[in-house]
């Protein structure tokens, strides 16, 4: 009796069956596959003790790897925000041959396995590659430098911005722009004062999604990065190296720092999406 009462308080009664089975299965799998293993990471990292955690986290190699992962991810997300907005804009507002093809191709980085993207990018941007040779002639080196890391992170982050901004641009009311134009605003002024503020939450969400994905990216980066410790070694690679040395604590501490960043970013994305919903007025 008391069990029924507590269940009623916990969830609204419904005539649909199967809640127990569906919820139970979801929660069990979630715990076994996701939550308990992630907890093991936190426990393993914590069991190293505060002194060791601090020593691992602040070792020059860890700091260099984290700085590269976060720094390159941040710059890549900025590049993606700019070009993602541009691509979403031309896809929604302009009509030109091949538009549908480009619209479909934007998802390529989602569909193409990261290892394939990695070897393809390094083939193109290597000193003897299609683009790399041109850069080399002008004194630039792209592959096997931090710039190569940036190229890979731009590749994998692009769809996040385009797919965040595109629906907002599609749904934005052209009458508001008409009103601005009728009231005498120049096109540039309309873009900066009317259109951009409307897409700002979506653009920022896309930026954070691209940033979050780029921080943890591994497959597409390691082929083009050159992986020189302290210079072009990303944090996920450092985890792999520590594991290969059977330094589980070292791997776990770097892993936990990245997990922490991921949680902060999820929280930020939720805030942004709440802001976006409020801004657009649809729930």
């Amino acid at each position: 009796m008391s069990l029924v009462a507590s269940e009623v308080r916990w969830r609204k009664p419904s005539i649909l069956p199967g809640f127990g089975l569906a919820f139970g299965l979801t929660l069990s799998v979630m715990c076994l596959i996701v939550l308990i293993p992630l907890a093991a990471l936190v426990i393993k990292a914590a069991s190293a003790g505060p002194a060791d955690i601090l020593a691992i986290a602040t070792s020059p190699r860890t700091l260099a790897a984290l700085r590269l992962s976060f720094g390159a991810a941040f710059i890549a997300a900025i590049v993606n925000a700019a070009f993602g907005l541009l691509i979403a804009w031309i896809l929604v507002r302009y009509r030109f041959p091949g538009r549908r093809l480009i619209d479909a191709a934007v998802d390529l980085p989602f569909a193409l396995p990261t290892a394939v993207a990695g070897i393809a990018l390094s083939a193109i941007y290597a000193p003897n590659g299609w683009v790399g040779s041109i850069a080399e002639a002008h004194g630039f080196k792209i592959a096997y430098t931090p710039t190569g890391v940036l190229v890979a992170l731009i590749f994998i982050g692009l769809p996040f911005v385009v797919r965040s901004v595109q629906p907002v641009l599609e749904e934005s009311e052209v009458d508001i722009e008409e009103a601005a134009a009728l009231l005498g605003a120049s096109r540039l002024r309309t873009i900066f004062r009317v259109i951009l503020p409307a897409v700002a939450p979506a653009l920022l969400t896309g930026f954070v999604l691209a940033f979050a994905r780029a921080i943890g990216e591994y497959g597409s980066v390691i082929f083009i990065a050159g992986n020189i410790p302290m210079i072009s070694e990303i944090a996920p690679l450092l985890i792999v190296i520590r594991l290969e040395q059977f330094d589980y604590a070292g791997a776990a501490v770097v892993g936990m720092l990245m997990l922490l960043a991921a949680f902060l970013l999820i929280f930020l994305i939720n805030l942004l999406q709440a802001w976006s919903r409020k801004r657009l007025g649809d729930v």
């Binding site: 649909l16 809640f19 479909a104 998802d107 390529l108 990261t114 990245m258």
Partner: protein, 293 residues
């Protein structure tokens, strides 16, 4: 007076010009976007096939005449054949619980389902090594019972399930929510059993978004590299999947063979994109709910 007439006769930009960018600006913006896409999307895709066929068609085919390559292809198919159906069942269950019922902690559960997307694939591999690896929490116990998880197929399946966990549920939840529960309630009121209602009403209603989720789940399952590479140990012919075999070949400077295997995955990606675009175009209304989530 003269001031006012001067203002009237001054060329006022036409309303139409203020409503859209001029032709030159539009052309410039399109070209800029295209240049970016060529550099970052089209060249990489084209180069996969160009590198694979660099030494001709025979050299391309020879890459598949290798027991390790065939073993990698077989393992990739086996792993996807386990991980994808598993995540379909769990994804449907999660979507049913979340979309059809109101309960406390629903938002938390929804966020948790998306969690694997936010975690680095390397961490997805690391957590299982920490649990089941030789020096992991269950390592000694597993060794005593002669069970191999890490550096073996079960670990690869686990890591793949982890990284593909959200795909099905996140496509189904918004669609099921948009559909409401009137249809199911009507069927149940008319005497249909729960399972019958599910198979005759719910599943047909969401079949296209389910297929969409399965498609993305499968592409990721077959292409996952980071997580698999950490748990598999990359033992040639035994625990290498296509992506990890690509890495081995590439690091051995066997470019043609690496790109030949890569061309399989690139073709899979292209098929996935074509099917995805087709589903979005043909069943736009049905899938719209999930796209705008």
């Amino acid at each position: 007076m003269s001031d006012a007439s001067a203002r009237l006769s001054a060329p006022v930009p036409r309303y139409a010009d203020r409503m859209r960018e001029g032709f030159a600006v539009r052309a410039l913006l399109i070209l800029l976007a295209l240049a970016f896409l060529v550099l970052f999307l089209f060249l990489p895709l084209v180069s996969v096939f160009a590198e694979a066929f660099k030494r001709g068609f025979d050299a391309y085919l020879a890459a598949f005449d290798d027991p390790d390559a065939m073993a990698a292809i077989r393992l990739t198919l086996i792993v996807a054949a386990i991980a994808v159906p598993f995540n379909v069942v769990v994804g449907i269950a999660a979507a049913w619980a979340i979309a059809k019922f109101d309960f406390k902690g629903k938002n938390l559960l929804t966020s948790l389902i998306d969690l694997p997307f936010s975690v680095s694939p390397v961490i997805a591999g690391l957590i299982y090594v920490l649990l089941f690896g030789a020096q992991g929490y269950f390592g000694t116990w597993l060794k005593a019972h002669d069970i191999e998880i890490i550096f073996a197929v079960p670990g690869i399946v686990l890591a793949t399930v982890f990284v593909t966990f959200p795909f099905v549920a996140r496509e189904l939840i918004p669609h099921l929510q948009a559909l409401g529960k009137d249809d199911e309630e009507a069927a149940l009121t008319l005497g249909a059993s729960g399972w019958r209602t599910f198979f005759k009403i719910t599943l047909p209603n969401v079949k296209w978004s389910l297929l969409y989720g399965v498609l993305l789940c499968n592409a990721r399952a077959m292409g996952e590299f980071g997580a698999v590479s950490v748990v598999s140990g990359r033992i040639r012919g035994l625990t290498t999947t296509i992506p990890t075999q690509i890495e081995i070949l590439y690091n051995e400077y066997n470019g043609v063979a690496a790109f030949a295997l890569a061309s399989l995955l690139a073709a899979l990606a292209l098929i996935t994109l074509v099917l995805k675009t087709f589903l979005e175009w043909r069943y736009a209304d049905s899938i719209a709910a999930s796209r705008h989530s």
